[in-house]
């Protein structure tokens, strides 16, 4: 057994002074196995999503309580979960999956405010935070809090209401869990608001670049309007259904994301370890061989590893 492992892992006379697992045919077999595993995992994920799928451990209740906790730490009043904003968030999430985009503004120019209006929420101020690919709720909230523009939304004194949607699906080529957070404060009826002229002067005009925060102007129609506004089919689900979407999809037997990450990390680290061991032993034994530079491979695989670590984290927008 010891000799067999030595043959596989350590440069030795028996393996022509190169670990057997670094021989061409071993690398070829490993590469083919990785390709096959990739397609196999993808197939299982499609056929049996309850067995192998994306784990959505992001809960709306936790998102709300963590957001309000952050606000209370800053002395701000807590936000109320609003059915209309949750519906708007769900509509936005489904629009992103349907049109396959990852942005605040859809490729056809549809702004987040369109979804809020279509949900029946008359806003004075509104904002939107997006996140995808996170494993749990604290990661999402912390990522938003670390970004100045997202934090500004979460800690804005202008908002009274909040709505969430946590929706799994396939976006821009990969399965993911999308988190949409919509903020708002309602536009109160004419008689209880300041005069329109005064309101218009006091509040900043909405601009496309200021995507995350929009103040309604004095005019009855928000100044950001799109020709597609009437083409949007409102998502029929109520906020409770949004909760169900999140709850029903968050517990596959195996989380494919963490599984593929672990396999990838193991393979890369294992090959890097073999290459480093190869360099050290060959140098000690002063053996002359005709092989490529191990250092090249170590650098290359290390870059792949770092990339894997970075891209494995969720993304906010």
């Amino acid at each position: 057994m010891k000799k067999f492992l030595q043959h596989l892992l350590i440069p030795h006379q028996s393996n022509n002074h190169r670990a057997k697992l670094l021989h061409h045919h071993s690398l070829l077999i490993l590469t083919i196995l990785v390709f096959i595993s990739s397609f196999f995992i993808q197939s299982i994920q499609k056929e049996y999503p309850s067995v192998l799928g994306i784990s959505a451990n992001v809960s709306i209740d936790d998102l709300l309580s963590l957001t309000n906790k952050k606000r209370q730490e800053k002395g701000l009043p807590p936000l109320n979960l609003n059915t209309h904003l949750s519906q708007a968030a769900a509509m936005k999430a489904h629009d992103m999956f349907g049109k396959n985009y990852w942005a605040h503004i859809a490729p056809d120019g549809t702004t987040p405010w369109v979804f809020i209006k279509n949900s029946g929420y008359e806003y004075l101020y509104a904002g939107e935070n997006l996140a995808r690919g996170f494993n749990n709720t604290p990661e999402v909230v912390n990522a938003w809090m670390e970004s100045p523009s997202h934090r500004e939304n979460m800690l804005s004194p202008h908002y009274n209401d909040i709505g969430f949607a946590v929706v799994p699906g396939s976006l821009t080529g990969s399965d993911t869990v999308l988190v949409v957070e919509m903020f708002g404060s309602q536009y109160i009826a004419k008689d209880s608001t300041p005069s329109e002229a005064a309101l218009g002067a006091a509040l900043p005009s909405p601009t496309i670049s200021n995507v995350k925060q929009l103040a309604r102007t004095a005019s009855p129609v928000p100044s950001i309007t799109t020709p597609t506004e009437t083409q949007i089919t409102p998502f029929q689900a109520e906020a409770n259904s949004v909760r169900e979407i999140a709850a029903s999809s968050n517990n596959p037997l195996i989380d494919s994301k963490s599984m593929t990450r672990q396999i990838s990390f193991f393979i890369i680290l294992f090959i890097i370890a073999l290459l480093i061991m190869d360099v050290i032993i060959i140098k000690r034994k002063k053996i002359v061989r005709v092989v490529s530079h191990n250092l090249d491979h170590i650098f290359f695989l290390a870059i792949i590893l770092i990339t894997a670590i970075i891209i494995g984290k969720g993304v906010i927008l």
């Binding site: 990739s38 995992i41 990852w102 092989v291 490529s292 090249d296 290359f300 792949i304 770092i306």
Partner: protein
């Protein structure tokens, strides 16, 4: 390893630049996994070409070395494919 680094310093610096450019582009295209995979594949291609050119310049290039670079590069792409799960 240090000796090798010193001897081929320019090669490793340029190699690091190519890899870093690829890495930055992967970060910038976080919105699309398919584009990221394409960038990783292109960076791997440049890694193989660059390494083979270097071996050729130093008269070390042979079929065995060529195959080894291609295999390691393909393994890197295969692992990325597994990781992206696309």
């Amino acid at each position: 390893m240090k000796k090798q680094l010193k001897k081929h310093l320019m090669y490793y610096v340029s190699f690091a630049i190519i890899q870093s450019i690829g890495f930055v582009f992967v970060l910038l295209t976080a919105y699309d996994k398919q584009v990221q995979l394409l960038i990783i594949t292109l960076t791997t291609f440049f890694y193989i070409i660059w390494a083979l050119a270097h071996q050729y310049i130093h008269h070390h290039l042979n079929a065995k070395i060529m195959v080894e670079y291609i295999l390691i590069g393909t393994l890197g792409v295969a692992v990325s494919l597994l990781l992206f799960n696309v």
